[in-house]
Symmetry: C2
């Protein structure tokens, strides 16, 4: 008999539905994987995607500003951008007005990729919310944002108390 994992793949998920953190993990992971399946063929990994997506909106930012917008550590950004540079998707040069900063620019190749790859996010999102009414999607986004605000405030108060 096949393992129970094949019998009803969704069952395993329902069993842990009482933890919002866990639900968030599953959703984040599925999003990454589904997106990755589409973008990998173009040499864009899951880790690179996050940065590319932000740069498609606006490039010429410093690494620190990029990190801030994506809520990533500077060190993480350094490593990810090194990979993107090696793939010829970005180039970087020191800001002449503040030579501590490194500004990040897309290459023409990366710009061309945008039209191919940007729709992928939309596709995954559409798929994830299949059967949702527009109101439900809006409600979900709103609830998630409220959670994030709560969590951010809590983290900030931890910081203030010097706990971290």
């Amino acid at each position: 008999m096949p393992a129970s994992s094949k019998a009803d793949p969704a069952r395993a998920y329902w069993a842990i539905e009482d933890s919002l953190g866990h639900l968030a993990r599953l959703i984040f992971r599925s999003f990454s994987m589904l997106r990755d399946a589409q973008t990998r063929a173009h040499g864009v990994s899951s880790g690179h995607w996050t940065f590319l997506r932000q740069l498609w909106r606006e490039d010429g930012l410093s690494q620190h500003e990029l990190s801030r917008r994506l809520v990533m550590q500077d060190a993480t950004t350094t490593v990810a951008l090194r990979g993107l540079e090696k793939q010829g998707l970005i180039h970087r040069h020191v800001n002449r007005r503040d030579r501590r900063e490194t500004l990040v620019y897309l290459t023409p190749r990366a710009r061309e990729l945008a039209s191919t790859l940007l729709p992928v996010t939309g596709d995954v999102q559409t798929l994830a919310t299949r059967g949702f009414t527009p109101d439900e999607v809006r409600a979900l986004r709103s609830l998630l944002c409220r959670i994030i605000v709560n969590l951010v405030e809590e983290e900030a108060s931890h910081l203030d108390r010097g706990q971290w």
Copy 2:
């Protein structure tokens, strides 16, 4: 002037609110970190927590069954359990009726930790949903579960088509 990250920490999050995958990432990460801050003092890391929590519900499961319930790869489980064993929180022995399986049991020490650490999940959850009505919490859980079902079905159909 201080970096803008300190000016309004929540702003950075709102800027990317249009991606459900990204929102899920932020929530998952905040949950992990807030929990970690409480449990680390007891020698329980974020990665161990997931497994401990499941084992507090029911131990004596095989590693594969544990993996299935937590939606983890078997290899991931192997490594995590090795850590828990080294910490003296679990012990494992081969199932006599099927010697391919390794059954996982909590140690008395791990059982004692339950009463101290289990409330932590609840605390983080309460904090995350501050200002929510019970109906909103229920609605959120329900919406998240529906997304997961959608995503699982999609992944399953990818598997069927042999794409992965």
